[in-house]
Symmetry: C2
Subunit: 104 residues, 2 copies
DNA sequence: AGTGATACCTCGCATGTCGAGGTATAGGGA
DNA sequence: TCCCTATACCTCGACATGCGAGGTATCACT
């Protein structure tokens, strides 16, 4: 298990509040276009994170269009710390396996 | 998408043929105990990989117990190369995002 | 009037993972 | 003898994640 989208979203929102569409673009750019989170993933994940109390949503109308700005809660920040460590452990483990010449 | 189990299994089998139970232990050790692939994941994945033609299975009886040894096919080796690159791209992207101070 | 970008959303499907359970053999200790 | 652990295979149902296609609406430009 990974939950890459969750990690990337929380990571971005740790810096500043952002709205959905903006987050999608930000993920593409911060991952050097390695990862693209489609809207079919984005919005459901945001809703789930909010329901779990890790995000707080605030609607705002800008230029006649509704934007939903999300910000991290205290618990969200704690959760981000946890899944960041999880990610490092997992990815470190995989990298070790990829290098390991096994017959050693 | 990731398919970590698939990557780790093919990687191990690229070195030498192994059987299921052995693979489970090998994954734990090569990932420095960061990742453990349960049997409920292991066997179904092995069967899928075989069905797709990336693995070849050979049954052998050792000490009265049946072992199913798997080895990589030509196609399996090609596929491993591909998903290894995928992994590096994805994990590199995530790492970039985790570092990126975003306001830059 | 039409197109493209912005901005939100849902739906069904496929895939990946997990835990619990099931079968069977071999070997060691009570 | 009986039981427990380790070995060795397997399936099943449930859940999480991810994907593409589709739907609505506004704004700006042509």
């Amino acid at each position: 298990m990974s939950g890459i989208s969750e990690l990337l979203l929380l990571r971005l929102l740790a810096e500043r509040q952002m709205y959905g569409y903006e987050l999608a673009r930000a993920i593409r750019s911060t991952t050097r276009h390695a990862i693209s989170v489609g809207e079919g993933v984005l919005y459901p994940v945001l809703h789930t994170l909010e329901r779990r109390g890790w995000l707080k949503a605030r609607r705002r109308i800008v230029n006649g269009r509704t934007r939903v700005y999300y910000s991290l809660t205290r618990g969200g920040r704690r959760h981000l710390k946890k899944i960041t460590l999880d990610w490092r452990r997992i990815s470190g483990g995989v990298d070790a396996a990829l290098l390991d010449p096994r017959y050693a």
